[in-house]
Symmetry: C2
Subunit: 421 residues, 2 copies
């Protein structure tokens, strides 16, 4: 495809999305839910077709030499399809944010002023290999009344086309314009840069994937971007911690699912409790296959630990590796987090009321927790029901983004003829 | 100043702001209020000095041939200084948004989850001639716990330096770091582009001024921008309108203060009521010196009107000029607003319940009103207390931005040792 025609294709697609957005913005909740339920049914009814299309992607990916971890993310299974379908049914059960009137109050002149949740408009999702993101993201955008433009990874191209075909069938069966959810029908990377220039049509870009993808999107976009680069989550074991709680939380945060952004990457231990806390923790970690990389003080307490390099501080391992550092107390822990944290998730374990209070007030992160696992920074766990990503930037949304974060609020004013003096 | 040293100067200033932001983020409300009250006192005590510095700017501006409207915006007076001081005292009375815990609920596993309002960090204000913006913006940022970097118009340079000197005195007198509020100490335009590249230090950019300034900032910024390009506000007189209410609202919206963004620029009248509504309106408008530019149907009804050009539709006159168009009904009015509106303020005048309901639900603008003047789209009038600008983009804030819009929310989680299954 020539450069000019690719740019035209992308901008036509964006303009069609904008037209469709106006229609979906005012769709009744019942219609949106009916589309989601039909899609859930179609996914399960057509699972053989989906697995076949996914097999084509897998064969190409294998012959291209993709890593086992990437192949694993790309693979669709019956269980994976069932999970997508049940995710859709759970989304149907969530309240529709659109039209919710908040902070309604009467002004002295009698005007009734409120703020009404309305869709953002057109959302562009740019993501990597997992095909389930195609369904999860499109469904969340639709329920929140937004049109969505999907740009999946080139390695999942056939899987994504098959999924979007079913999505279109679900939309059309309820007389909703199929332009509400469009897949960019090419794997050409240039399409992404054209997409990022459509600031008149697209209201928000959400990149999901590695740090390289996200940095590329931020550097090239003229459209607002909700992003998180990485999750470098810390846990600070305070001198007043319940050490049994601390050990259970650290083990969970590091090992329950080490490859995700809310897994623990750095452990800070108050020097006053390090001799009692670290040696038994090191034994338990070793039993679970976790490699510990410590500061000089930590290594002196635990012969199993290797010595951490400078680049291990603030590193996102996404693996069974943990950086461990002994600190003089709260203040040093805070300074370490300020320096090495990624504003994703920070935890203190303490029984001290005032220290907990300070940590909550002073630590800058999308989720700040006392006596709980970092793994709880997740839309489902925090009560949002479903999430489209986790923002570590502060504008619009900070932390997990659910249906409400895919909307904005306009002011509505009910008057009886008021004029301004 | 050499290019390298200007870039260094701006980035040092941004780094110092980031350090100061951490300190001001956790300042007690009483300290922030004390700074604001001291500043109010200093403004009034030092009004002679302020007027003298402003006179220097005025002389330079006059000799540079600035328009009377620009000179008027630049001029400081005793009344203007008193208004700044009373604005500060009103801000003291507003609740501090920082630390407010919202949407707190208990999860099934016992975790207590809430969302706490926290400052954004560092806000950069880029604005044009009015020196009062220096004080208004700095005060709002400080009350919301943010550090602020001020870049005022070059024509107000001496006035702004004098104002910031008093601001620093107020900060220092309460032991608050003066780096919380810094003025870029040069009129070199290059400084703005350096500022817009400091994405590691600055969290938000707010441009205030003409469309040219705002487009420049949006095109060059790697930092999120809250913007509004222009206010092209419409009012639709529905066939079921109370015509007396409609006339009073139109007169107010157009003439009460024609040079501002929430003034009325376009009037749409249902054909069913145009013969009854337009001729008396045209007489009243003429008496107030308003020039009406109409469609063919409007001109046929009102001989005082001139014929509108194509570019009068959707135009921001900021003057005693109004575009008038007869429409077939609600649907045509909506399509006109979708096409020519700027998503600022849109009003319907109607006594019909269902039409009012539809307009509120379907019209996309930062403020949608029934039976009220466009002039009410203002932070003070809508109950925010004070505003730092009006956003017509949908991310983070849509409409007037007050103290809460200068904050974000982080998740806080109070656990008792919970781990994830």
């Amino acid at each position: 495809m020539g450069k000019g025609s690719l740019e035209q294709l992308v901008s036509q697609l964006a303009r069609r999305a904008k037209v469709a957005a106006a229609a979906i913005a005012i769709l009744p909740t019942t219609t949106k839910n009916a589309v989601l339920l039909s899609l859930a049914d179609y996914l399960q009814a057509e699972s053989a077709m989906l697995l076949e299309e996914n097999r084509r992607d897998m064969l190409l990916a294998e012959s291209a030499g993709l890593s086992p971890a990437m192949l694993d993310r790309l693979r669709l299974t019956d269980a994976g399809i069932a999970a997508m379908a049940s995710g859709l049914r759970e989304l149907v059960a969530l309240p529709d944010p659109v039209g919710k009137l908040e902070e309604c109050s009467r002004r002295p002149n009698g005007l009734l002023v409120g703020r009404m949740r309305v869709p953002l408009g057109v959302v562009a999702m740019i993501y990597e290999s997992r095909p389930n993101v195609t369904i999860d993201a499109a469904a969340l955008c639709l329920k929140a009344g937004n049109a969505v433009i999907l740009r999946g990874g080139s390695e999942a191209f056939h899987s994504n086309i098959a999924l979007v075909t079913l999505l279109h069938r679900a939309l059309i069966s309820h007389a909703v314009p199929a332009d509400c959810a469009q897949l960019i029908p090419t794997t050409d990377r240039e399409a992404v840069s054209h997409l990022l220039g459509c600031e008149e049509e697209i209201d928000l870009v959400i990149p999901r994937g590695g740090e390289g993808l996200i940095r590329y999107v931020v550097a090239h976009s003229r459209i607002p971007v909700l992003k998180h680069y990485k999750g470098v989550c810390h846990l600070y074991v305070d001198r007043d911690a319940d050490l049994a709680k601390a050990q259970a939380i650290v083990l969970n945060a590091k090992t329950q699912r080490p490859g995700v952004c809310n897994a623990l990457e750095g452990l800070l231990v108050d020097a006053a409790v390090a001799p009692a806390f670290l040696p038994p923790l090191a034994v338990a970690m070793q039993a679970r296959g976790v490699e510990l990389r410590g500061c000089a003080q930590s290594v002196a307490l635990c012969p199993q630990m290797s010595r951490a390099d400078e680049e291990d501080w603030g590193r996102e391992f996404l693996d069974l590796i943990l950086a461990v550092r002994v600190v003089a107390g709260y203040q040093e822990a805070k300074e370490y987090i300020d320096r090495y944290g990624s504003r994703h998730t920070e935890v203190i374990v303490t029984e001290n009321y005032s220290t907990a209070h300070r940590f909550i007030a002073e630590i800058d992160a999308s989720a700040v927790m006392v006596n709980a696992s970092t793994r709880f920074n997740d839309g489902g766990e925090l009560g949002l029901g479903a999430e489209i990503g986790i923002s570590t930037s502060k504008l619009h949304a900070y932390g997990p983004m659910g249906l409400e974060e895919l909307t904005t609020r306009k002011f509505v004013v009910y008057g009886q003829g008021q004029v301004r003096e």
